[in-house]
Symmetry: C2
Subunit: 221 residues, 2 copies
């Protein structure tokens, strides 16, 4: 192998970050049905599509009436961001927040509690959310049991988050937990954004929060 | 609201972690075409389906001939795990590894380098992989440019990873970078696992690595 000219090995691909981002969202606008959505809702749906690489998933996104507004206000007011798993927390863009998101899944108290109650750690971790719930933005991207438990807590009188972004993924309870959120939100008086069906995950959940943070910064695609 | 009996607010859902996991994989086996796959390949494909909540995606997974074996050996030998983004690193199950995965995306040298070269930070971060590449397991779940750059580096004579799990997601370069990996792997003599098309992401990439780690522990679904 000669070292005289490594450029012979250079492949052709876009490597300019701004160009990648703008072309991505141009494609997403072309491929996705955004009709009937507000400007802020469009930003969230485009981020959902972007993080999953799947335009069809746009049809599955649901917003309560004041979801984007309530979420933006809570984030602007520096409300707590409560995450079910570390990957969700990791996914929230650091440059756009001043208060570190919270996740208690790996807290020693959580393991103890889960063991003693015979429930998932994801459920047990929510016991440690109580004091931060009021006015918070809740991000659930992994555990259906965390979303079910949160609904129970609110039904039992726990303080209400400003917004629940509930998008757990999977085959057992994920679709059911999101249906439960969507069906209960009006009665419970909570604002929510969800992605119906089995799909979801850490990336799409934090991306939805990032979309609202970007709206607050005036960064629209 | 009465506090006499909170059980009236209890919802019905599976909250036993083992039951959730075993029922998930039972459903995935029912819904997914695993024919023609080795036992280890099945474990990876089931984890891919699990993390995306989408059985159809199984058809898009590709394995080079010795991919699972090479990956298992590298992980058993404590080879470096190199990640393009922090979320991928976060997704590798800690209890199954003794050596912390590496990610240089937020390294100060990376930002400097990206700026001076006018390329993505994801590409620049790979300059810091060189010394750990030999015998490593590479996990690329986010950035097509990282995967393209890695191919260029190997073509230019960089040490070869034992396995590349290349599953970036998105609309610009993602499908193309995975096609490039799949088309070049035999010529370059590299083992790889990839997910063709636009879909991919941090969760599915770390889940594929976790599947191999579980095989090493004898934990099969």
């Amino acid at each position: 192998m000669t070292s005289l000219d490594d450029s012979q090995y250079e492949r052709k691909y876009e490597n300019n970050p701004q160009a990648i981002e703008s072309d991505s969202f141009r494609q997403i606008r072309e491929l996705t049905d955004l009709s009937g959505l507000s400007q802020d809702q469009q930003q969230v749906v485009m981020r959902v599509v972007h993080s999953l690489g799947l335009p069809d998933v746009a049809e599955q996104v649901r917003f309560s009436v004041n979801a984007t507004q309530a979420g933006r206000e809570a984030l602007a007011n520096n409300g707590a961001i409560l995450c079910d798993v570390e990957m969700v927390k990791q996914g929230v863009t650091k440059r756009m927040i001043t208060r570190e998101p919270l996740c208690f899944l790996n807290d020693a108290r959580t393991a103890e509690l889960a063991k003693s109650k015979g429930e998932t750690r994801s459920m047990a971790a929510l016991s440690l959310w109580q004091q931060d719930l009021a006015g918070s933005v809740v991000l659930i991207g992994n555990a259906p049991t965390a979303l079910f438990r949160l609904l129970e807590m609110i039904e039992q009188g726990a303080p209400k988050p400003a917004l629940i972004i509930g998008m757990p993924v999977g085959f057992v309870g994920a679709a059911e937990s999101k249906d439960a959120l969507w069906q209960a939100h009006e009665t419970l008086g909570i604002e929510c954004i969800t992605l119906l069906g089995r799909m979801g995950g850490s990336a799409v959940t934090s991306a939805s929060c990032n979309a609202l943070l970007r709206c607050n910064l005036g960064e629209y695609y």
